[in-house]
């Protein structure tokens, strides 16, 4: 019934044209970043660069101070990686206990996390900043890791708890009968089985933490320990319309997430289609 007709071909061509328009910003991004200063000011913004000029990238990657892009890149990697590891560890343990416990408090805890997902973060940002400053967590990568873990933990626990509920207890029962301790059951039986949930948590947490600007602007603002978005914001703030340099740093900031997305795009999209809560 729904076969490939001439009309479908037309639809396909139309969609590709639309995609080209939709992604036109990336044409400007790449062509402009590859222009030299003089070329950028003298040629049309639509024109291709006469030859690939990487001076903008060199300038960007050697910037120092609070717009240290390379330092920011490193910090972003550390903070994103650290947050993901902590979110997987704490999220799976807490989610597991909540899913398996039959005590009444576990249901209360489940709602504690569910409400925390809905609770908007803006209001808490100011007191969190004050609290973090008083115990010396602002301006450090560690502080950011703890902060992001706290912020995203409810979603992570929620994903894990729901995953474990759907898993069934047969394997764990068998392992317990065979004499495994509680920790062995978790580490040997449950942990390997929870890979799908871990994948989802990794993608969501990775995306949110890597791209986050608001939180890191507040908590790292003014320090030399910037994440990439903040370094980018400060660096661009110091440029007026040197678009080749601006776009060089934009490209640097996009490459890691884009590579990950193209590598695991199916999982990304499935995760989103399942509904990003919060």
């Amino acid at each position: 019934m729904f076969r490939y007709t001439k009309l479908t071909l037309l639809r396909e061509i139309g969609l590709w044209t639309l995609a080209l328009v939709f992604l036109a910003p990336f044409y400007f991004l790449i062509t402009t970043a590859l222009k030299s200063n003089t070329e950028m000011y003298t040629t049309s913004p639509l024109a291709l660069p006469q030859s690939a000029d990487f001076s903008a990238f060199v300038a960007v990657l050697t910037a120092t101070g609070n717009s240290n892009v390379l330092g920011g890149l490193l910090n972003s990697v550390i903070i994103t990686g650290g947050s993901i590891v902590l979110l997987i560890a704490m999220g799976s343990l807490t989610g597991y206990v909540i899913a398996r416990s039959t005590r009444r408090w576990s249901k209360a805890a489940y709602y504690l996390f569910l409400i925390a997902i809905i609770l908007p973060g803006q209001l808490g940002a100011v007191p969190l900043y004050m609290g973090a400053r008083s115990i010396g967590l602002t301006g450090s990568a560690w502080g950011m890791i703890i902060l992001y873990t706290g912020m995203l933990l409810p979603v992570s626990i929620f994903l894990y708890a729901n995953f474990f509920r759907g898993l069934g207890t047969a394997y764990e029962e068998a392992a317990t009968i065979d004499g495994a301790t509680r920790f062995q059951v978790f580490a040997r039986i449950v942990f390997p089985m929870m890979a799908p949930a871990t994948g989802t948590v990794t993608i969501f947490a990775g995306l949110i933490v890597w791209n986050d600007f608001f939180t890191s602007l507040i908590f790292l603002g003014g320090s030399d320990n910037q994440t990439l978005p903040v370094a980018m914001y400060y660096y661009i703030g110091s440029l007026v319309s040197e678009w080749n340099s601006i776009f060089a740093i934009v490209i640097v900031s996009m490459i890691p997430i884009l590579a990950l997305f193209l590598f695991a795009q199916k999982r990304f999209i499935q995760g989103f289609a399942g509904g990003l809560k919060g």
Binding site: L15, L114, I118, L123, M151, L159, T169
Partner: protein, 332 residues
């Protein structure tokens, strides 16, 4: 995968008549799950056997501190005149009176709602059209889906800088307009108070389209081919088929895409900071950018907290609606 595991779980816990409905609606996974009845009994029997309750303690403590304590304290400061350092007084509703008597704050409130609803409406319409166009037979649908989804995973701050260039007075849009002889339409898009809000809206729509598209594409898989074919054989035209077969099946997807988009849209901060910084003359200021400026740049913690509380209440309102739509029965 996530979607399946979550919804199966709900199906298990729902009353029987509801289960049947979901099972019919979304395939055989639920049916398999339903037959695992003994699970519940064994769960009750084994109880805490599989874990120690204190494994959950660090998580609970951290969430309590970062979410509940911080929000509570923030709510308290909304009623004070604290500047961020030194002493403060409790001033009651004064901060809120100041907000609602200040035309610039009312304007940012209006902008926040305008951006959230505008980008969700436009993004959902475009997302729906794309999903429908990509649905079935199109050979390169997955490649196209990846391309249209790309802006969603990229940093909103980074992509906003590209758009700032595109809408620059000497940028591609104006160059193009001049080239096709429509030079009189060229304008400083982001520096013109009247046009800046619309320009920002275009950027926000661009970023949100892919997300809506993916949710609609997932929703469209629940439309049975047989029913659509039957309707076509019975002589229903494309529009009738959409209205009577596709749209009813998409209703949950529409609800989710809209409310999620609004909740996200109300927080809009990064693209504004990159595109206009709230300017020109506050024309594109939102509640989120105002909160940042009041609390962190101007040292008006009390006022910033009050603004944040207003924003939080609005977000909470839509978030609760979203939660109700996503799962009417979260636990039992």
């Amino acid at each position: 995968m996530t979607a399946t595991s979550q919804s199966t779980n709900h199906a298990v816990n729902r009353p029987v008549h509801e289960q049947t409905r979901t099972a019919q609606a979304s395939g055989s996974v639920h049916r398999v799950q339903r037959m695992r009845g003994p699970d519940r009994a064994s769960k009750r029997k084994w109880g805490l056997e599989f874990g120690h309750w204190w494994w959950a303690l660090p998580g609970i403590a951290l969430v309590f501190a970062v979410h509940y304590m911080a929000t509570g304290i923030g709510g308290f400061f909304a009623f004070t005149n604290w500047s961020g350092i030194g002493s403060f007084e409790v001033v009651g509703w004064k901060n809120f009176e100041a907000i609602f008597n200040d035309p610039t704050k009312i304007r940012s409130l209006g902008n926040t709602l305008f951006f959230a609803f505008g980008s969700v409406l436009l993004g959902n319409i475009m997302g729906l059209l794309l999903a429908l166009a990509l649905n079935r037979v199109v050979k390169t649908r997955y490649a196209l889906r990846t391309l249209f989804f790309m802006p969603v995973v990229l940093s909103p701050l980074a992509t906003a800088y590209i758009w700032k260039f595109i809408f620059d007075y000497e940028g591609p849009i104006n160059v193009l307009l001049n080239a096709i002889g429509a030079g009189h339409l060229a304008k400083p898009w982001l520096a013109d108070p009247q046009w800046a809000v619309w320009t920002v809206l275009v950027v926000l729509t661009w970023s949100s389209t892919g997300f809506a598209m993916v949710i609609f594409m997932a929703g469209l898989t629940s439309v049975p081919v047989e029913v659509e074919e039957a309707a076509a054989i019975d002589g229903a035209n494309l529009l009738q088929r959409f209205h009577h077969v596709t749209l009813p099946a998409l209703r949950p997807a529409v609800a989710i895409a809209m409310t999620l988009g609004i909740v996200q849209g109300l927080r809009v901060f990064d693209p504004i900071m990159a595109l206009t910084g709230g300017g020109p003359a506050g024309a594109t200021e939102t509640l989120a950018t105002e909160v940042y400026k009041q609390a962190f740049a101007l040292g008006n913690f009390g006022g910033g907290a009050a603004l944040a509380l207003v924003l939080a209440v609005i977000i909470l309102f839509f978030a609760v609606i979203q939660q109700r739509l996503t799962r009417s029965n979260p636990e039992d």
